[in-house]
């Protein structure tokens, strides 16, 4: 299934990309599984994720967590802990 993954802040800079479109294989259905799959299939992303061990996630612009379910067409955003205000 197709999903969009977006990166922000330090993770965006480390990934060298704002966003990617990916076709997830069967069996990848949670945020944790998505992150593992990204790290397995893309060395640059693996390094960016490893360099950003504290992360937050939003699915379709709503905060989620590692166990949140990812569905076709979702926009999954990965980013470091927020630091506004």
């Amino acid at each position: 299934m197709m999903v969009q993954v977006r990166f922000f802040a330090a993770l965006r800079e480390r990934a060298g990309r704002d966003a990617i479109q990916i076709d997830l294989p069967e069996g990848v259905s949670t945020v944790a599984q998505l992150v593992d799959w990204l790290a397995e299939t893309d060395v640059a992303l693996a390094q960016a994720l490893e360099a950003t061990p504290r992360r937050m996630v939003a699915i379709n612009e709503v905060l989620g967590n590692e166990d949140s379910v990812v569905e076709a067409g979702d926009v999954v955003a990965l980013f470091p802990p927020v630091t506004g205000g």
Binding site: R6, F8, A9, A10, R54, A58, E61, V62, L63, G64, N65, A77, F79, P80, P81, V82, T83, G84, G85
Partner: protein, 157 residues
Amino acid sequence: MKTHIEVREGGLSASEPDLWLRDQGRSGAVVMFSGQVRDEQGKVEALHLEHYPGMTESVLGTIVEQACSRWHLNGAWVAHRVGTIQAGEDIVQVAVSSAHRQAAFEACAFIMDLLKTRAPFWKKELIDGCWIWVEARESDDQAAASWLQDATGRAPR
């Protein structure tokens, strides 16, 4: 109840929320918080703020709704800057109006605590000519969690 939620590149001034919240005698109390860029003893020249357009406004709206469900408010104003901000300038304003002061103080602190831990903003500091990402602070997580303990003692998402 009126609400104003805004992300902007330009500067903030205290008179804006003050005028916008005025309601001809309905409210007795306005509490305004202004967050400003600290220079950390001259170390920090400026900040750069990045955000997640769309999600930012939606998260801020949800936080303000939560505040309205907990306290009787007449108005709530949240304005947050993005882009480059110089030391001493305002980054964020949260201002609320209510009949009584305790509700206004609590709701304003609540909105700030949740904004700090949930709204998708990220800042980097310009120090010695280099931009360095600011790390999130543990104390901010604790401040937000203290409002959100449910009956089971778990902080809900």
